[in-house]
């Protein structure tokens, strides 16, 4: 070891060759450290950017019921959706009333019961064969089309999908008092 200790001169960094050898190594080491550092920061960056890579907040699709339940639908059927709202590592579970109905082509639609006028819960009126809002009297047809009253649009249909014979719907809120359906959360 001792014989390798080569810096016994009085001014150890005067000789030019030694200095340049040292700085070449320094650049090499700096570069190497930089590369290793970059490599090591990959998991850190992925960890911190997780909210960009995956959804951390979302409203999960809720099961509405088996498709067979709705095959012989003659009028809108009320269902209570269990809504799971995921917020990072926690979730809130709430319930919302929806109506399963069919449109003109016979396709299933899931309507939120929130009135697009001012947000009251709209029930199905069996006698009148219409949805009638109890607050301000807006009325809607069985498929959710606007019939009369102060609402500027028909009842809002939810995004649906079918999985293993189950009808799923993603519950969302829509802006009230406007003519076009607009998601607000």
């Amino acid at each position: 070891m001792v014989e390798h200790a080569g810096h016994s001169e009085d001014t150890p960094h005067k000789p030019f060759s030694l200095e340049s050898r040292r700085s070449f190594l320094a650049v090499l080491l700096g570069l190497g450290s930089f590369c290793v550092g970059t490599l090591l920061s990959v998991p850190l960056i992925r960890f911190a950017l997780f909210p960009l890579l995956r959804r951390t907040t979302e409203v999960k699709e809720s099961p509405v019921g088996a498709l067979s339940d709705f095959s012989s639908l003659t009028e809108p059927m009320m269902r209570t959706l269990k809504i799971e709202q995921v917020d990072g590592w926690r979730k809130a579970v709430s319930e919302k009333v929806v109506y399963v109905t069919k449109d003109a082509e016979g396709q299933l639609r899931v309507l939120t019961s929130i009135c697009p006028h001012l947000g009251c819960t709209v029930p199905w009126n069996k006698e009148k064969k219409q949805f009638v809002c109890p607050c301000h009297g807006a009325t809607f047809a069985a498929d959710g089309r606007r019939v009369s009253g102060p609402s500027l649009r028909g009842m809002d249909a939810l995004e649906t999908s079918i999985q293993d014979g189950q009808l799923l719907a993603r519950f969302q809120y829509f802006r009230q008092l406007v003519a076009d359906k607009e998601v607000i959360g």
């Binding site: 320094a26 917020d87 809130a92 709430s94």
Partner: protein, 489 residues
């Protein structure tokens, strides 16, 4: 050391130009770098000297991974386990990062032991290095404190019970033991205050102390100078000097590389597990500390009753004092281990005892069928939990609604009326309130049932102005609705 050259400028080397030159003129970073790298090592670079910088590397790595883990961790008994489960099961790279943080803690204890052993065996504490040794000893204690406080934070079964035993051990200390235990736990029992205390110690208090002491330790080291090989005079080094850079730097970096590769592979292939959440009611659970605390754990088993004070307080205190006093007691300048039989004998004895106690503890666990079976069961439960997908925690807002359904059928009926009558459209789900109307939570305390019925049937002018319609319901439904509104707490 070379400051006179560079500040006056330029007779030795031409002034550096460009960004680096500017930065250097403003900061003197070149001098700093030089004084850091041109540390003289009597007798030349050696692999024996790599452990100090290895420790520094692990510590910095722990600080970084720790900060990142805090992005998702919540220190409370309600959420700690869920958030750690979220980190390990949901977040990208989370399992790797948590493993890195946990395994590096073990690696730190190992490298710390090697660093201490090298210093002791080489007699590097001699020759005006008392404070250097003392600061190192305090740092050892602080690192063990980090390991102890960090261990609880995941709040799984293993963490909970190990810390319950660990804090319980403190109560064996006479007079102040019980108070000390309560102080650590933040109460008589382990709970959410314990997590808060351990978190603050682990994240703010102890790291701050470590930063300060690492600075002091490095300062004292540079002030005293590297001690060099065992043949060197600790006061007046005479052997040829080699500078820290480049060969010692390369040797130090090779340990760092070894640590990176070793820990990286370990974390990738054998990630740290998280067990099921702490269940304080589990009377069956057999707690076991992390491996580096096993010797102490085993040692405490031997001391009970009136003799406990000897084993819990007297002997450990004497041992710690003896270790702290090493550079004061051993004033001889002789550093060669083979010429220091007493010092080496003491070292061998302590290491043998630690090893023996640790192995004894393992042996007893394996050969007690009841314990072995329970430990195997605990490991199986941990394994099973680790493979379950992440389950988010139910927020308290959801629980209010759920509890009502369970508690009172009348209130449950009221809830359906509340929703069917669109009360929730303005007052919010569960009566939490919206922009359109105030929340109803706690209203049962302000008004009696009769008053509420009156308000529902005949809203005040102010309520009407806000859009509240009179409630027109059959008496039974009204009673149910009132029961529900009163249940909102």
């Amino acid at each position: 050391m070379h400051s006179t050259h560079t500040s006056e400028g330029d007779d030795a080397s031409p002034p550096a130009s460009g960004l680096w030159g500017w930065l250097n003129r403003r900061t003197g970073v070149d001098d700093l770098l030089r004084s850091a790298l041109d540390e003289p090592i009597p007798g030349g670079a050696r692999f024996a000297y790599v452990f100090g910088s290895g420790l520094l590397f692990i510590f910095i790595s722990q600080v970084i991974t720790g900060i990142f883990l805090a992005l998702y961790y919540v220190p409370s008994a309600d959420h700690a386990h869920t958030t750690v489960a979220y980190i390990t099961k949901a977040v990208t790279g989370g399992s790797f990062l948590r493993s890195l943080h946990a395994y590096a803690a073990s690696a730190m204890v190992v490298v710390l032991f090697l660093h201490l052993s090298q210093t002791y065996i080489y007699g590097s504490y001699k020759g005006r290095r008392e404070l250097l040794w003392l600061s190192g000893c305090v740092l050892f204690g602080l690192v063990l404190a980090m390991a102890f406080t960090g261990y609880l934070l995941p709040w799984d079964q293993r963490a909970y019970f190990a810390t319950a035993v660990g804090t319980n051990a403190a109560s064996e200390i006479p007079w102040i033991g019980e108070s000390l235990k309560r102080l650590m736990r933040g109460g008589t029992e382990m709970g959410t205050l314990t997590i808060s205390r351990f978190f603050v110690a682990h994240v703010f208090f102890v790291p701050a102390c470590i930063f300060a002491l690492v600075a002091a330790h490095i300062f004292l080291f540079r002030k005293a100078g590297a001690a060099g090989p065992v043949s060197e005079d600790p006061y007046h080094p005479k052997q040829k000097v080699e500078l820290f850079y480049p060969r010692q730097v390369l040797m130090d970096l090779s340990l760092t590389a070894l640590l990176i590769i070793g820990l990286g592979l370990f974390c990738f292939f054998v990630p740290m597990q998280l067990g099921p959440p702490a269940n304080p009611a589990d009377a069956q659970y057999v707690p076991r500390p992390e491996w580096y605390y096993l010797p102490i754990f085993q040692w405490l088993k031997y001391w009970h009753g009136s003799a406990a004070i000897v084993g819990v307080l007297v002997i450990p205190t004497l041992l710690v004092l003896a270790i702290l006093a090493v550079p004061f007691l051993d004033r001889n300048i002789e550093r060669r281990p083979w010429k220091r039989p007493a010092a080496m004998g003491g070292y061998a004895f302590v290491v043998f005892m630690l090893l023996g106690l640790g192995l004894r503890s393992q042996y007893l666990d394996r050969h007690d069928p009841g314990v072995a079976q329970q430990l195997a069961k605990q490991n199986a439960e941990e394994e099973e939990y680790a493979h379950k997908p992440f389950e988010p925690e139910l927020s308290s807002a959801s629980l209010v609604a759920a509890n009502v359904t369970l508690a009172d059928p009348l209130a449950a009926k009221g809830k359906t009326i509340f929703e069917a009558q669109s009360c929730n459209a303005c007052h919010g789900d569960g009566g939490v309130g919206t922009a359109a109307a105030p929340g109803l939570i706690g209203i049962g305390k302000k008004f009696s049932a009769d008053q509420l019925a009156e308000l529902f049937k005949h809203p005040t002018a102010k309520m009407k102005a806000g859009g509240m319609p009179p409630v027109d319901l059959p008496p039974d439904d009204l009673r149910a609705l009132i029961a529900y509104v009163e249940s909102l707490k």
